[in-house]
């Protein structure tokens, strides 16, 4: 007879965790025991269901234990436990209000566990948890459910986007908001959507649609949630992304490898090293991966015009809107941003503004900023003129405080920068007079306005205020009269003239080498040869993502995006570019490297647009060169040159992206010059960018070296040698004979040549 097979629990007196552990190891042998325990669970369940509210403590605890146990091993016995998930769901649905807290949490946790083991699907889980989230009155349970729902959605979208699940959940949330617009329950839809948006799990227009519905709800909380999402959701997403990438502290691979060489070798250590290498590689790949191309929520809106109109008519226009001022302001910010970004026409908005453009109005700077934000090139000047007139009358006067005046002027400037036609010349000339004011803030604001109009529409200024450049360009007929609705299109690729100049220069050089006349045309084959060289290995380059990386540059470059999708800032931007271009040209002419060799090819971009891009096909090599040139030009533009400074005076702020909102702080900006800062403020300002701890450069270098895990040089070691150890040598040194001294010197020379006593220089 063979060896007797022992029953499962015969060996040890077992408890539930022990049994669980054993079942996981060998489900088949412990089946009987599981059946027993499952029966026990069922009895417990039946007893609990018979009297859910009056159950005593011990039976609740035992039910909790059994639920936990069965949930953990349910995947081993799918046949026996097929009713288990449904049991839990009914228990939760029917009795969630009077379940004991820990038991309730355990049930939810077990359901999530079953989902993770793929015993139930996500749809079922979410359909169970979501109604609970809305109905339950327990705060802890809500928080718990919320985190579980989010994590489940996250985990089911990890490998690939689970469109089916996402769609069903989005429909659920959408219905939640639209079914009862008065209830604050829609807040949960807002919360979930925002969280998933932040984590880049939902990036589609359906999610934006949910938030749109939320913004149009009747409950104040839901409205604010929806509006805040549009104003801050994208920024939050970007920050979360940056956090993610900055979180992983770089593992120092060389240090680890070094340690692995020194320390005792063990399986664990080698495994650790391998793991670290893999993670470093992964990080590297992640770093090189293209920036995820996500559209902002504002761009994903289906019907921005309708949305903006509805928002305005529902929340802002009615006198009896129940929103508080603060919330009204954020709604206004959203409406004006939509108007500015999508160039919408909302006629009533501007006359509505008139009511609020008074210095006494609470948070008036926000209103001013919103007005500027709502202005774009397609707004009829007739609508804006009364607003500007009102600002000028209410804010800008000798009687008003200087902060008020500067804020008013600033607001006028911001508005007029977007629609220069809104300004009347008499008013402008009056306002420009404020540059003679005593207050610095007012002076700067007035000067800003003046320089804006010098650039945009100098004819409205008095003759003596126009400045030299504007006057000359007026006389030459280069500055034409502005017309409403006129579109200025860019025919140029940014920086194309730089490329053209560079090409010409190269051609001249080559011809000079060959000894040909510089004016001759290239022979055809010469050009062809160059082209072939330019096309060489372009596809290899595009395959290899490590060293090209050019895609990323293009995407992250704000200016390109600006040019491609918005028109309102274009004139100023173009002017800036041109100025920068002239600045580089000036720089180049100062250089002695011979840019002067091609004076006739020096482009004059204002007069004739370059035909370079239209006459020939740019090779990939050309494109890389173009990028290079653009970058070098950008760097040049950052140099503190006189011209550059002049260009900067037109806009005191760094160039803004058109997607970025205009804030009240930017309107208030100049008023900081209007009041005298105290000593403390000055000190704080001066100290702001300084490190708190001073350290010498040597100390810094040393610390850095030590931080990198490197050792000191022999020289440094010698310097730190104990003084008493050197004393004897020094004493003897003076008494050395000539021969000895020679020998020592020779030895020193020898050692320094061979890199030390053992001569490790060569190898």
């Amino acid at each position: 007879m063979g060896k007797r097979k022992l029953g499962a629990l015969e060996k040890v007196e077992a408890d539930l965790p022990n049994l669980q552990y054993k079942i996981r190891r060998d489900p088949m042998s412990y089946r009987e025991n599981f059946v027993d325990q499952y029966n026990q669970y069922q009895s417990n369940y039946a007893i609990f269901v018979a009297a859910p509210s009056t159950s005593d403590n011990s039976s609740i605890i035992s039910l909790k234990e059994y639920v936990d146990f069965v949930a953990h091993v349910a995947d081993c016995y799918p046949g026996i436990t097929k009713d288990f998930p449904q049991d839990l769901i009914t228990l939760l649905e029917v009795h969630h209000a009077d379940l004991e807290g820990e038991l309730r949490e355990k049930i939810v946790g077990s359901l999530v566990l079953l989902r993770n083991k793929d015993i139930i699907d996500s749809t079922l889980l979410l359909n169970t948890l979501f109604p609970l989230l809305i109905t339950t009155s327990s705060k802890t349970l809500r928080a718990f459910l919320f985190s579980k729902i989010i994590s489940d959605l996250r985990s089911s979208n990890v490998k690939s986007t689970n469109h089916k699940l996402n769609r069903s959940v989005q429909t659920l949330l959408h219905n939640l908001i639209t079914s009862d617009r008065n209830s604050p329950k829609g807040l949960w839809a807002v919360k979930i959507t925002r969280e998933l948006w932040k984590r880049q799990i939902w990036t589609d227009s359906k999610a934006v649609e949910i938030m749109k519905e939320a913004a149009l709800a009747d409950s104040e909380k839901v409205i604010v949630g929806g509006v805040r999402f549009f104003l801050g959701g994208d920024k939050e997403r970007e920050e979360a992304l940056e956090d993610d990438s900055s979180d992983e502290e770089g593992v120092d691979m060389s240090k680890l490898r070094h340690q692995a060489g020194i320390n005792k070798k063990s399986k664990k250590r080698s495994k650790d090293l391998r793991k670290a290498a893999a993670s470093v590689k992964k990080d590297e790949r992640k770093k090189n991966a293209p920036h995820p191309l996500n559209f902002s929520a504002l761009h994903l809106l289906h019907d921005p015009q309708g949305f903006a109109e509805q928002l305005f008519n529902k929340h802002l226009l009615p006198q009896k809107s129940k929103l508080s001022l603060e919330h009204k302001l954020i709604v206004l910010q959203l409406v004006t941003r939509l108007v500015g970004l999508h160039q919408l026409t909302l006629v009533t908005l501007y006359s509505w503004f008139l009511k609020f453009l008074r210095p006494r109005q609470q948070s008036v700077t926000t209103y001013l900023a919103c007005l500027a934000q709502a202005t774009h090139a397609q707004v009829p000047p007739d609508l804006l003129t009364p607003c500007i007139q009102q600002i000028a009358n209410e804010f800008v006067s000798e009687a008003s405080a200087s902060e008020v005046a500067s804020a008013g002027l600033n607001a006028i400037r911001e508005t007029c920068a977007r629609q220069p036609l809104a300004m009347e010349d008499t008013l402008l000339q009056d306002l420009v007079m404020y540059r003679k004011s005593k207050d610095k803030g007012v002076v700067m604001a007035a000067k800003g306005l003046m320089s804006l109009y010098r650039e945009k529409d100098p004819e409205k200024l008095k003759r003596r205020d126009r400045g030299k450049e504007a006057a000359m360009s007026l006389r030459s007929g280069e500055k034409k009269e502005l017309r409403f609705g006129e579109q200025v299109t860019d025919e140029n690729i940014a920086g194309i003239e730089l490329l053209e100049a560079w090409k010409e220069e190269e051609r001249l050089k080559r011809r000079a080498e060959k000894g040909l006349a510089t004016d001759d045309e290239d022979s055809e084959d010469d050009v062809e040869k160059e082209d072939v060289a330019g096309w060489k290995n372009w596809d290899a380059e595009s395959d290899d993502s490590d060293d090209s990386g050019g895609w990323i540059d293009v995407e992250s470059d704000g200016e390109e995006i600006e040019i491609s999708d918005s028109e309102d800032d274009r004139p100023s931007k173009k002017a800036k570019l041109d100025k920068a271009a002239t600045a580089t040209n000036g720089d180049k002419s100062k250089d002695s490297t011979g840019v002067d060799a091609s004076p006739e090819t020096k482009p004059e971009p204002e007069k004739k647009p370059s035909t370079f891009a239209t006459t020939r096909i740019l090779t990939p090599a050309d494109l890389t060169k173009l990028r290079e040139l653009q970058q070098s030009q950008n760097i040049a533009a950052k140099l503190p040159a006189g011209l550059r400074k002049k260009a900067l005076t037109s806009s005191t702020l760094p160039p803004r992206h058109s997607d970025d909102p205009l804030t009240a702080a930017q309107i208030e900006g100049l008023s900081k010059f209007s009041h005298k800062s105290t000593k403390e403020e000055k000190i704080a300002l001066a100290k702001a960018d300084r490190e708190d701890k001073h350290q010498s450069t040597t100390a810094k270098r040393k610390e850095k070296k030590r931080g990198e895990g490197k050792s000191t040089t022999n020289k440094e070691k010698a310097r730190e040698k104990n003084f008493f150890m050197t004393l004897g040598k020094a004493k003897r040194k003076s008494k050395r004979s000539l021969g000895e001294a020679r020998k020592v010197l020779k030895g020193h020379v020898y050692r320094s040549k061979h890199g030390g006593k053992r001569g490790n220089a060569g190898n």
Partner: protein
């Protein structure tokens, strides 16, 4: 080592041998009570001034509430009190439906003594009241039957035995009473993981993996301690009792049939007279399940003997016969009891 000199000295004092002297009395212990004084009256700080002792019903409730006390001696004492008071009074001071929910959780009490005392208490309950509360009792009994600890299983088998003896017909007829208890007992005996032939003709075991059932063909008594064998014997005997009650026509049923025939003869023109009279059972429409959750095959009540026989024949008969056969071959006390089970099964059809 003690910390200070004083502590050291005191420690030493504990072990110092007192010197006894001839002619002197023994030194008094330190905790001796001085009884030399006399007093007219003694006042006690706290005392109850009620003239009458607490009534039996309040005491009964008090002890009933003490049943979920932490200490098992307290539980035992309270149970004992309840038992004696039930024994002494013809009707219980509280309705049984109030007493039962308090005492049934003690079925899975950890203390052996408490559980045996509980059985005594259960014996004292009036059978009529037990009959109307069978379902609840059976629920807890099944909980005890599947408990991890074998001693709890054993004692709950005894509870089941008592229940079958007092309210056998109700036990097998109440919802879940027949099917679930059978499954429970089968699990206890390890007889439920047998193969069933699916409709396609393939042999499919309960666990979903073919052939899995073949592995557990060890004798049920092998390698088990005497306690386990005792448990097995007890289980088999209770099972035979259970099957007897469920499958075989009871004496009353037989006599009822006879009386029915007689009465049918007596009221000749009337047919099915008793079906038109008021019923004599407590819950005549229970099988309709008007207020509870919908039931599946498991939770259904099999009120009729024919239903029970049919269910048993379909679901368990084969496996039980197989299991009994295996145990029978082992002989001894276990085998004898198994013979009894087999007899009942065969008699039951």
């Amino acid at each position: 080592m003690a910390k200070s000199a004083k502590a050291r000295k005191e420690k030493k004092k504990d072990f110092a041998k007192p010197k006894l002297k001839v002619g002197k009395g023994r030194a008094k212990p330190t905790n001796a009570t001085d009884t030399s004084f006399k007093a007219r009256s003694i006042s006690v700080l706290q005392q109850s001034l009620t003239a009458a002792a607490p009534s039996t019903s309040t005491q009964f409730t008090h002890h009933l509430n003490l049943l979920n006390h932490n200490s098992d001696t307290q539980r035992l004492q309270s149970l004992a009190y309840l038992t004696t008071s039930l024994h002494n009074t013809p009707t219980p001071p509280l309705p049984v439906s109030v007493i039962l929910p308090k005492i049934v959780p003690l079925i899975r009490d950890t203390s052996n003594k408490v559980r045996s005392q509980l059985l005594l208490l259960l014996h004292e309950l009036p059978p009529e009241d037990v009959k109307s509360n069978t379902e609840q009792l059976l629920l807890w009994t099944r909980l005890g039957l599947t408990h991890l600890s074998s001693s709890i299983r054993l004692s709950s088998l005894e509870v089941l035995e008592w229940l079958l003896n007092t309210a056998g017909n109700e036990v097998v007829a109440c919802p879940g009473g027949w099917s679930k208890t059978l499954r429970c007992l089968a699990g206890l005996l390890g007889w439920d993981n047998t193969e069933t032939v699916s409709s396609t003709g393939m042999r499919v075991s309960n666990s979903g993996r073919p052939g899995a059932g073949n592995w557990t063909s060890t004798p049920s008594t092998a390698g088990k301690s005497s306690g386990d064998v005792k448990l097995l014997t007890k289980t088999l005997s209770v099972l035979s009792l259970f099957l007897e009650v469920g499958l075989l026509p009871t004496l009353t049923e037989k006599s009822l049939l006879k009386t029915q025939e007689q009465s049918a003869c007596r009221n000749f023109p009337l047919w099915h007279l008793e079906q038109h009279l008021l019923t004599q059972v407590s819950n005549p429409f229970g099988h309709l399940n008007l207020f509870g959750a919908p039931r599946d095959e498991e939770g259904m009540g099999y009120e009729d003997r024919g239903d029970r026989v049919r269910y048993f024949g379909e679901r368990w008969r084969g496996t039980f016969l197989g299991g009994v056969d295996r145990v029978k071959r082992e002989g001894g006390g276990v085998g004898r009891v198994a013979m009894g089970v087999e007899k009942v099964i065969i008699m039951g059809g």
